[in-house]
Amino acid sequence: MGKLMRKIAMVGAGMSKFGAFPDKNSRDLFGEAFINCLQSIDKNFDVKDIEALYLGNYSSDLFEGQGHLAPMCAELAGLTPKPALRTENACASSGIALREGILAIASGMHDLVLVGGVEKMTDLPTAGVTDTLASAADRIFEFHAGVTFPGLYAMMGSAHMAKYGTKKEDFMLVGIKNHNNGALNPFAQMNKSVADIMKSKIAKAEKQGKPKPAWKDEMDFLHDLSANPYIAYPMRLFDCSLVTDGAACVVLCSEELAKKFTDTPIYIVGTGQGSETFAIHDRPSLTSLRSARSAAQMAYKMAGVEPKDIQIAEVHDCFTIAELIAMADLGFWKPEEVAQAVRDGETALDGSKPLNTSGGLKSKGHPVGATGVAQSVEIFKQMRGQAEGKRQVKFDVECALTHNVGGSGGSCVVHIYKK
């Protein structure tokens, strides 16, 4: 138990630009990601080699009025009549599609599969998006009490503040860090630092002849309730991930096949998945997710590595508090130490353990069903020294991790990568 019977290689990885695209639907976004992924494969690849599609998608049914996306995307990729499966575990939908693709190869069922994720979120008005996301929470016991998705994580935030003395400023520092990384990522939805966003707001006010805002620096800007209001106290606008359209794809195959396509495959050496109670009020702790702890343990054990061996990670920062909780659930720091680690810059691009070099869900964007695979795309690039611009880390990445959470933690999937 807990072993992969074959070694799994990732030989291609690509994504669409993330953003709000009124003129593009799921089909278009998946097409962009698929082409971007094909272009990343070094040699000898033929789409006929793909044996099946595993596609993560949370709720095209509610977002677009279109269900059953897997055969639609398979058709686009020229796979018809091959098997095409959609996985749905809220925001972990495509992390779990990745796991299913890995299991298919490890079992010997397939030798080469395409794994994707897609979500088109921006067609609905804000209240519709809020309701659709909230349907991943407990409808009867949470939604009816008025809880929204930001509200669920905000409640975890209030408990974290009371238990560990975490400050609202610590949440802000996570957001600033992720925007700094996203500013360097051409695929990011908000590829601007918080400082640049502040400056452009000042410039806009001046241009419109309005009084010039008196923000001293980015922290001062983030403290201004009119510029950065509470969406759900203590989570403000700049603590929340974005509403995003986007897609991502990776190609997985057996170790033997990988050599045909590239000299530098990235191996997935550990996979773990866990679950947590549906409503957060049923949990023994409001500041940790058992789904994440158990998924991480499973993945670490399978990979034969420890938290200290992980050099970079993409973690599920749907809200800034979620990154702090992940830092402890993955064993990188103790829960009482996570805020200090952020203050000390340990998780920044030039820190001891860079987290979310892509900009994370906060800045890169969070098309929920595409997020898990998009995290793998970033790891693929970083480990091969191919991250665009200045966000490539300055050291060789031998071991990395992705952490993808569904809902308020009801699902979590963790993967570990090696060269």
């Binding site: 309701d131 009867i140 009490a145 209030s158 503040m161 009020h281």
Partner: protein
């Protein structure tokens, strides 16, 4: 004894309880596990042999949030960024927890940008007591027509 085709307790029993202004937990007759809100199967031993037990809706705040961007239902009730509403997780007497709205006045923010309700600070650990807020649910009939049903929501107030 438990009928093999029917559970003893259903979600509706809990919801009917709220409509009748009673908060129900479930006591497992097999292992003694006590859960609030009432479950349909014991989550500890999976026995369906549960009894509903009335619980006092009283406890302390374990976690809270003040929501500016609300669900459609709460937006229709008049809440907005300018008029946020507060949701709390309440830890009841025996440690079980439940979610509900905290009522008792408008939400404002103090000089530290921390929330107040009706001028009183909202804090983890603060004691709260539950009450039942009546409302009318409009149910669309399957063959057209509408029916109105009197219902209740469990809400909390600072003690």
């Amino acid at each position: 004894m438990v009928d093999i085709t029917n559970l003893k307790v259903y979600t509706k029993d809990f919801l009917d309880g709220i409509d009748n202004k009673v908060l129900y937990g479930s006591k497992c007759q097999a292992c003694g596990n006590f859960e609030v809100p009432a479950k349909v199967i014991c989550t500890k031993c999976q026995s369906p042999d549960l009894e509903l037990v009335e619980v006092k809706p009283e406890g302390k705040i374990a976690a809270f949030t003040c929501i500016g961007v609300g669900t459609t239902h709460f937006v229709q009730k008049g809440y907005s960024m300018k008029k946020p509403y507060c949701v709390v997780i309440v830890e009841l007497e025996n440690g079980q927890m439940i979610s509900g709205q905290l009522i008792g006045g408008d939400i404002t923010y103090d000089e530290n940008q921390d929330p107040l309700i009706g001028g009183k600070p909202i804090k983890v650990g603060a004691p709260v007591v539950g009450e039942y807020e009546e409302y009318i649910e409009v149910i669309e009939g399957k063959r057209g027509g509408r029916q109105e049903k009197k219902r209740c929501r469990l809400v909390f107030r600072l003690k």
